[in-house]
Symmetry: C2
Subunit: 342 residues, 2 copies
DNA sequence: ATCGTCAACGCAAACGATTGCAATAAAAAT
DNA sequence: ATTTTTATTGCAATCGTTTGCGTTGACGAT
């Protein structure tokens, strides 16, 4: 049944020594004879001894495990972030325990609770779309509990935030459309309570303004779900209603952008000849669709690895949280493909 | 510093009772007066008491955590499976700890080791492309350690396997192409050491044979990496070399299929008029590319949830492993889109 | 007054590993 | 020969919780 994992006691019994001796021998403490060390290690090998991490955690109040709270796993950007997290964590000897909230605040809170009782060493979180009150986080922060927020970050005291430069990403994307000669540009925006959505919209607005193009509020529409269908329907409706046809679309995300392209085609508009389109996130499919979709690439892997490095430094006290007052901002890159070049 | 998580002892001290009493009161054991129970619960609430899962694990030799070993996270199918796993696990009170092997056998083994020392209650594994020897798994199985394999499953004694019906998925896809009038059909195959690749190829072969079409080995080519680029290059090369042009492509995966479509277009062939294409996995982008890509949909979420249910039943002894001798096979569904309909 | 019964609770060991503080014996110094 | 030093090891507490068993005192019955 039980895989009979050998314990320190088994080794001790086999050699007629105490468990303290075994423990010390295994870690090459001074004050243990070489002879004993040799024998202990030999038996440990023979019994295929593996230290019981649970017992260690209890003793040290450290679990060497970090908790990741993420809205959804089936998502190109988030899964890429996870990949970065996993990479750094495992190379530094930490486990990753994962919980997806499915954008539900209730699950977010309960995940935090169970992780806390599992003595997680720290959190990496990107909160849900439902989360508007951050008390459940600030309570932890106030106690000095290590948390790093990434991508979707809150504006609360002491939080350490890792984010991408959504503003400039959006600004560049919009400017690019303008420079290509599009000037009646739609913005398919994201959920209003996420700061990333706001930043992207701000980038869009500033780009227009700085290029002398007036902002038309009827061209800014919220795509709350960010699905292809939603993008399709909103675009279709918009193009039918507007007297003066738009000729550009800057979407908050690639999926909505893809939906928008389909809508344009179905309405008989050519992309990029009649309408230029740029998305956000650079999903894998961007280079596979027709026309290939220009997009703002977010450094997902980098974000995951950077956030994890910060968290582990925090946990291991190599980093004083108070020294970080500004968010860590990672650069985006505008990848120009066919959808936005006349 | 420490988030001062209250322990049972804190409650005990506050009420001048022993920790045993507190423990029992909290779990409504008989032999504790209602008065005491009330007070204990009150104080527990006040101190925001959360049982220490680590201590519990140590005591019970159970961690209520399952380990997931997966080749990569940034993958539509696998991330969908994870989603299913997470769903069931969390609803049944288990944590999920995740490790991606990046297709490396070494990492696969070391992940298993660290998870073992973390007293994981059981494993959910889809092994790496490098894994050809399964001794590190069978050793665990022999000890009765709960493991469920999914998607990429081994052929070893006592293993419980959850897989999709790759054979029929491939068979149907190929038959569909044939019925559409394509008859010189290429197969972009997967890595040869994975049984899923073999099954898909077998489905392809049988479909041809049963429809009276001879099998041409030069039309079966391994796409070991499954990238879009690889699919593009292999297809380009193939079409240039073959005297008698192929008119159909059944790809082992969608990404390669997408690459193949691009290659066809660049060579001046129309999809679906000149060449019909069907992929595998039904990635999100299938309905966003031009033409929309027909694909065999695998029930990823279902696979994750089913595998997890089995594992937890195994762990909780609601299920005797010996009663399961056949693999659990989940049905696929052929989604016909524009890439394969003339 | 004595005994048994029962409700209500505490003691202490256990899970596996670590670690400060002895303890022991042998070797060295006096 | 006696004391001091040094090398090597063991004891026991600790982390937080559970649980078998023992203890305590009140109460009714005799």
């Amino acid at each position: 049944m039980k895989i009979g994992q050998a314990t320190i006691k088994d080794i001790a019994r086999e050699l007629n020594v105490s468990s303290s001796t075994v423990s010390r021998a295994l870690k090459d403490y001074p004050g243990i004879s070489d002879e004993t060390k040799r024998k202990v290690k030999e038996v440990a090998e023979k019994l295929n001894y593996r230290p019981n991490a649970i017992a260690l955690s209890l003793r040290k109040s450290r679990s060497f495990t970090i908790g990741v709270i993420i809205p959804e796993v089936v998502h190109f950007f988030f899964s890429t972030v996870i990949s970065g997290i996993e990479e750094v964590a495992s190379s530094r000897g930490y486990n990753v325990i994962l919980s997806q909230t499915n954008e539900s605040l209730t699950r977010e809170k309960s995940s935090i609770d169970t992780m806390l009782s599992n003595q997680i060493d720290g959190f990496l979180v990107s909160f849900s779309k439902e989360t508007t009150d951050f008390e459940h986080f600030s309570r932890l922060l106030d106690h000095g509990y290590p948390i790093i927020f990434f991508d979707r970050v809150p504006n609360i005291p002491h939080s350490i935030n890792v984010m991408v430069d959504d503003y400039h990403g959006a600004y560049n994307a919009t400017s690019h459309l303008i420079s290509q000669g599009y000037n009646r540009i739609v913005h398919l925006a994201g959920p209003k309570n996420l700061s990333i959505s706001k930043e992207r919209e701000r980038g869009y607005r500033d780009a227009l303004t700085n290029h002398g193009i007036p902002i038309d509020p009827t061209l800014i529409i919220e795509c709350a779900y960010g699905t292809s269908d939603e993008g399709f329907k909103i675009t279709e409706k918009l193009f039918k209603e507007q007297k003066e046809k738009p000729d550009g679309i800057f979407a908050n995300n690639d999926i909505a952008a893809a939906g928008a392209i389909l809508a344009c085609k179905s309405l008989g508009y050519s992309v990029p000849d009649d309408v230029g389109v740029v998305g956000f996130s650079n999903w894998q499919f961007c280079s596979m669709i027709e026309p290939t979709l220009s997009s703002v690439s977010q450094p997902g892997f980098k974000m995951g690895s950077k956030a994890t490095e910060l968290l582990l430094d925090l946990i291991e006290k190599k980093l004083d949280p108070d020294t970080i007052t500004e968010p860590i901002v990672l650069e985006t890159e505008l990848l120009i493909r066919n959808s936005s070049v006349k």
